[in-house]
Amino acid sequence: MESSKLKREKDSQISDELNELRMESSELKKARDSPISDESYRRSSFPDEVLERVISLLNSHRDRSSVSLVCKDWYNMERWSRTHVFIGNCYSVSPEIVAQRFPKIRSVTLKGKPRFSDFNLVPQNWGADVHAWLVVFAAKYPFLEELRLKRMTISDASLEFLASSFPNFKALSLLSCDGFSTNGLAAIATHCKNLTELDIHENDIDDKGGGWLSCFPESFTSLEVLNFANVTSDINFDALERLTGRCKSMRVLKVNRSISLEQLQRLLANAPHLTELGTGSFSQELTPHQYEDLESVFNNCKNIHTLSGLWEVKGLYLPALYPVSTHLTFLNLSYAVLQSDELAKLLVHCPQLRRLWVLDTVDDKGLEAVGSNCPLLEELRVFPADPFDEEIVHGVTEAGFVAVSYGCPRLHYVLYFCRQMTNAAVTTVVQNCPNFTHFRLCIMTPGQPDYLTNEPMDEAFGAVVKTCRKLRRLSVSGYLTDLTFEHIGRYAKNLETLSVAFAGSSDWGMQCVLAGCPKLRKLEIRDCPFGNAALLSGLEKYESMRSLWMSACNVTMNGCRLLAREMPRLNVEVMKEEGSDDDGRADKVYVYRSIAGRRRDAPSSVLTL
């Protein structure tokens, strides 16, 4: 946490310098009335070398984008010095274009499918296959070191290709991806001699067994980050023990459920410098002696600030974590079924907590304990343990949410799944915590009003956008009229991402948002009564956004065709349902800006208009 804060300070220092440079340069531009700068004029006021040096220190891709827009020289200087490229939508640009512009890339982050693919709203073969990218990278970036993919499809063959094409390859991170099996991981383990990071997180993996872990050669010692929590089958524990023993720089280790407490204890004994730990199953029957060993090994791990895993947790064993809990800043209990008293007892020992993820089995009482014990809390996520059970006999309510807000004024990120909520509660929460940047509230029954007053939840989200001026991400739920969207359009001036489901009364709602939110980048809508008028009101807007998703709304094929015709730089894709009648309704629409033109790998169920 500290290092990222320092980094941000450094970045902002550089940004300040940059602003000065920018101002100077724009004055020069005005004076000269021409984008092509005069070498002698510029050199006299500012040497190239300094400029290059400053620009090369920039890390934020947004800053770099700004830099590249100043003038041609700056554009060139920036592109030659960029080493990391972030591509938020893999279809917005082609790998060839990227390689053409940035010759010195060593690290790539690529995101593919629309976010609703996480919830099975996107057909399996939709696309976002990384292979074409890898082929270009192998030719243009032979010294590629890092690849981070989110919602992409990657096959075992691609993983093998990756493993054998980049001798310097260091870091692979796969989040919410699919298309591969443990055989692909075996290829990575076998061939990537310089690997420092293997982060396999929440993917759809074809698990063919744990043999892949044994593929790391005995001579291999460079691993610093290993997260295989996602890959559930049993691995060879001896191989893992030896691996962690010889990788002396390992700082992040997140094992899977097959690892028992006793095994965990042995791993930790060899890795006392870990900063992030994901345990395996936390429920083995331990003898007192074994428990003591566990406690003492945690006592030795003074650097752990992030803890996760804890599957099948036995509340009885949580005290073993107390030595570590005092300096925990991130505690992920979202796979640990804990009751309120168990959580409360643990949180007494976690005063430094900044981020907490829990299941709603902890109830409102557990959240009260959060409010009482964690004054520094900045992020809270409450997941439902049993979301499809409609019996309202458990879970968290508005009371828990309010309790946390009283105790945690620094809260700025919340993801809250609940079965009931009130306008009053949300209003209170944002009064207590006005600094929300991310507010994601999911009232799980679609279209449910304030359960006490029976009113729509408009007032709640109105309060959110009026009070939280720094709001960047908002997910709304419950019974909402267009009024909610009027509020959003009027007040949410920093909003970048908006997710809407089962809400709104008419086109007007969506129009308000499109007209009123200048920084909107991602808009995802499902099951709302927004139609063509709404869709088309955002014509120019969509080019300033990354993407728009609309499913089960009232847009028609003709509306989409019109959009596609008017805005040639947008790709307008319609996903047709199997066997749905061709009544002109566009079931799922995905619109995104692109300089690569229409994509050529769309399956037959996806029409690009």
Binding site: P123, W311, A385, Y479, D527, G579
Partner: protein, 304 residues
């Protein structure tokens, strides 16, 4: 029916269902007495004590509809594409806008206005909702089972086999594109008048009332008052005269009728609503002596 999972072998064969689940279904129902004399008063249901019809007036201000049979109500399968407007539209329910979901709302849904688009849908019927990653859902299926719901203690072994089956099927159904619903186990208690020990039955393992009745008959009627599965099996083979028709419990020809308690706490006769609807409202089952069952209604409350 899409996505229905037959857990435990489908339940139609008394052998397979019973052997898998017999152990875990044995419950000593001490607090939940099945003795008819106590249960009526204790549960406060006014069962056949004259007060029953009063209970049946809808709490939410709804009204009686005509008696609906399975023929009147189409199936409750959620529509394609995750659309909020389901294909279900019971003829006698009120429905203001065409896109609003109308289903016979047996749960206390009076809080929802008629205009609300998806007001009456439970979250379990909509694809991709609530918005939780499939990975997390699959991980939680295993563990949610570990949370005691009604206090039944499944043995560790049975628990694992049950959850692993559920997990596989859940993964399968969750990850297929489009229309699959999540199907998981729906175990409910079953008590029979005169038998001290209750059982549990997985409703989602049966596709129809016939199958359910058959299972229950196999569980209860063939064993008489004996709880010993071995003994009752022997008896079953020996005494073939007992069950001839498949649905004695349903057609009123036996000494017992099958009833269920719904979410409102009222006891209803099983069989009058479509199977799917029954699944969403049933809390537990009771095999009641026919003599006790007078006054039980079959009306469905439709809330406007």
């Amino acid at each position: 029916m899409q996505g229905v999972v037959a857990i435990g072998g489908g339940g139609s064969e008394s052998g397979s269902m019973s052997t898998v689940s017999r152990e875990e279904n044995m419950v000593v129902s001490s607090e939940d007495s099945s003795y008819p004399d106590e249960s009526g008063l204790e549960l406060g249901l006014g069962l056949s004590l004259g007060g029953f019809k009063v209970n049946q007036v809808s709490k939410g201000g709804g009204q009686y509809a005509r008696i609906l049979t399975a023929k009147d109500l189409p199936s409750v399968v959620s529509s394609a594409g995750g659309s909020a407007s389901s294909s279900l539209s019971p003829s006698s329910s009120s429905s203001s806008s065409s896109s609003s979901l109308s289903r016979a709302n047996i749960t206390a849904g009076t809080k929802r206005t008629a205009d609300s688009v998806a007001a009456a849908i439970g979250s379990s019927q909509v694809v991709g909702w609530p918005p939780i990653r499939a990975y997390r859902m699959n991980s939680m299926v295993n563990q949610a089972k570990a949370v005691a719901t009604e206090g039944f203690n499944a043995t560790e072994e049975n628990h694992k086999s049950e959850t692993s089956m559920v997990e596989k099927n859940t993964i399968g159904s969750y990850q297929s594109s489009g229309n699959a619903k999540i199907r998981k186990s729906l175990f409910v208690k079953v008590n029979m008048d005169g038998i001290p020990i209750g059982r549990k039955v997985d409703l989602n393992a049966h596709e129809s009332y016939e199958k359910l009745a058959k299972t229950l008959e196999d569980m209860f009627l063939k064993t008489n008052t004996s709880v010993n599965p071995v003994v009752s099996r022997a008896r079953e083979h020996g005494l073939m005269n007992q069950i001839t028709r498949p649905s004695k419990l349903l057609d009123g020809s036996s000494d017992f009728v099958l009833t269920y308690e719904d979410k409102e706490g009222d006891w209803m006769l099983v069989g009058d609503v479509p199977w799917e609807m029954f699944l969403t409202s049933v809390k537990r089952l009771r095999i009641m002596r026919t003599s006790e069952a007078t006054g039980l209604g079959t009306q469905i409350r439709i809330l406007c």
